[in-house]
Every structure is written in C-alpha cells, then in structure tokens.
C-alpha cells in the first residue's frame, strides 16, 4: 500500500509542479494521471503492484466527494433565490450531455467498427 501511495503522490506532485511551472490550464492530478500511464507503459510489471491498493481507492471514490458535498448544505442560501431554475438547468443539461455523448459514441462506433451487439 505505501509504495502505491508514494507513487500516486509523486505523480501528482510532478503534475502540479509542471502545471504551475508552465502556467498550463490543466490540473496537476490530470497531468499526474498521464504521467502514471507513461510509467505503466515503460514498466508494465508495476500494474500488479498497484492493483490491490488502487482497487480499494477507486471502489470508494464516492467517499472523497462527501466533504465537498456537505458544502452544498452550507451554501443553501446562495441557491435559495434561483434554485428552481438551477435544478431544471442541471437536470436537463446533464441528461442532454449524456445523450449527446452516448449517441455520438454509438454513432461513431457504428461508422468505424460496424454493428456490434
């Protein structure tokens, strides 16, 4: 577990340093993700070392959104004025985004791969 944590944190740290150092609009953890992917391509055997701890982390991804989620309750006064409009916008826009993504994915898949089950 500790070697995995050390590798994840190191990738994030390097990502953060590069993003800030070069003033990139990309967040540090996303660059860290790309870096870890490059590490895995260079050293495929690392995947087996990472897998047990990473599975635990990703299985509990929801936990990490709870602190920010509680902030929703703390900001109810900000939302109170326009909450109906905001709720309609969030629901409709989220559904539209999923429809656009799934429709495009299936359409392009059909064009490039042919029909599949």
């Amino acid at each position: 577990m500790l070697p995995t944590l050390a590798l994840l944190l190191t990738c994030q740290l390097i990502g953060e340093v590069v993003a800030r150092g070069f003033g990139l609009p990309v967040p540090g953890p996303v660059l860290g993700l790309a870096l870890l992917l490059a590490v895995l391509i260079a050293r495929p055997t690392l995947a087996a070392t990472l897998r047990p701890s990473v599975s635990v982390i990703l299985a509990h991804l929801s936990l990490m959104f709870v602190p920010a989620g509680v902030g929703v309750i703390g900001n109810l006064d900000v939302l109170s004025e326009d909450w109906v409009a905001l709720l309609v916008i969030l629901v409709v826009s989220t559904l539209l985004a999923m429809l656009a993504a799934v429709g495009t994915f299936l359409g392009v898949r059909w064009l490039t791969e042919g029909r599949q089950p």
């Binding site: 996303v30 929801s62 959104f65 409009a85």
Partner: protein, 238 residues
C-alpha cells in the same frame, strides 16, 4: 456540565471528530446502498451528506470547522485521479479499438454539457456571474473551480453545482440508459463520466468495471477539454 463542555471544546478543535463522522457516515451509506443492491436513487454521496448535515446543524458547527477535519479525505481526490491511470492501462486494448468514438463523444458531450447549461441559464434570465459559475459544472471539482475563477464565476457556487451535477448524473444514468436499451458498457460509462465527473465514475464502477474504466477516461479527458472549451463557449454564447 463543564466536563461535557470541555470535552466538546477539545473535540471541536481537532480534526478527529469530523474526519471520523465523514468516514462513518459514508460506511453507513455504502452498506445501506449495497444491502439494497445499489439502486440508482441510493447515492452514497447524497446519503452521507444527508446524515452529516443535520449533525452539523444541531451542534451549531460551521462548514469551515467541519472541513478542517474532512479536508484529509477531500485531499485524496488528487491521488484518486492519478490512480485512474490503472483502469486505463488495464483496458488499453479496448480503448485503442475505440479511439474515434471516444474523441467524438468527448467533444459532443463536453460542448453540450457546458453549452446547454449556459443557454438555458440565459433563457431563465439568471445573473451573469451565476451563468459563468454554471459553465464548468460537468468537470471534476478541482478543475471546475479553476475555470470558474478564470472566467469570472463564483468558485463556491461552482463547487455546489459540480456536486449536484455529479449526483444528478449518477442517479439518472442507469434508468436513462436502460430506457434507451443501450447495452454497450463503454458508451454508458463514457456518457456518465463526461456529464457527471467523479461521482458519475464512482456510480459506473458500482455497476460495471468496463463502464467504470470508460467513465474514468471520459472524466480525465473532459478535465483537459473543458478548460479550453468553456472560456470559448462563454465568449460565443454570452
């Protein structure tokens, strides 16, 4: 009375209490959701918030005090984002075979997520700073806050809208995809990752490992793309 008060003043001054409360609330929520068979409406983030919020309210605890403890968990969002490299690596063959669907679905989903929100907010006549705060709502929280700040939105409002979007996407994706009879786990996962970032990705991992991997790809790529697209959309649509 003074014993209780001094105990409370000790506990409320250390991160221990709210860190524990957050982990326990999540465990209870996750166990409950699992025992129900992970139905779409039993979202663990939503349930945890509904458990913690009344405790904060009844004990007169401010969000800042709560966050002093909970920030240790919040911090893990960074390493968890990095960790998404592993499912990408594990599914590399499948991803290589669907590069074209991934890139086009990324562009379509990202533009519709931000564009539809901005246009509808204009239609409702919402104030400009709220419209600007809505733009990056489908991106993962740390990215969305940066974008919101850069284009003149209110970062704290954006944080709220990002979490609500994630919960809405996670709750609606399964009924929507089942209704449309879409059986391709790649497409289903990708759609929820684009529209509902990490909370949607967590939901996808609950349902199917391939869907989870594709949701992770979508979330990571969308984090890259939204930071370029939203400022342009705002200039064009406002």
């Amino acid at each position: 009375m003074t014993g209780v008060e001094s105990l409370w003043s000790y506990l409320s001054a250390t991160p221990l209490l709210w860190l524990t409360a957050t982990v326990v609330a999540y465990l209870l929520s996750d166990r409950t959701a699992r025992s129900l068979g992970y139905p779409p409406w039993a979202n663990p983030v939503l349930m945890s918030v509904l458990l913690i919020a009344p405790v904060l309210w009844l004990s007169g605890t401010t969000y800042d005090v709560y966050f002093d403890g909970a920030q240790f968990i919040h911090f893990l969002l960074g390493p968890a984002t990095v960790a998404l490299a592993l499912p990408l690596w594990d599914n590399r063959e499948m991803i290589r075979r669907s590069v074209a669907p991934i890139l086009f679905a990324l562009l379509a989903g990202s533009v519709v997520a931000a564009g539809s929100a901005i246009l509808m907010a204009r239609g409702f006549g919402l104030p400009t700073e709220i419209i600007l705060s809505l733009g990056p709502k489908s991106t993962t929280a740390p990215v969305a806050l940066g974008i919101s700040e850069a284009i003149g939105g209110i970062p704290t409002l954006t944080a709220v809208l990002v979490i609500l979007t994630g919960i809405i996407g996670a709750v609606t994706v399964t009924p929507l995809m089942t209704l449309l009879r879409i059986r391709d786990w790649r497409a289903r996962g990708f759609a929820v990752g684009i529209a509902a970032h990490g909370i949607g990705t967590a939901r996808a991992f609950q349902v199917n490992q391939v869907a989870g991997a594709y949701a992770g790809i979508a979330m990571a790529l969308n984090a890259l793309l939204t930071s370029m697209i939203v400022p342009a959309l705002v200039r064009w649509l406002m």
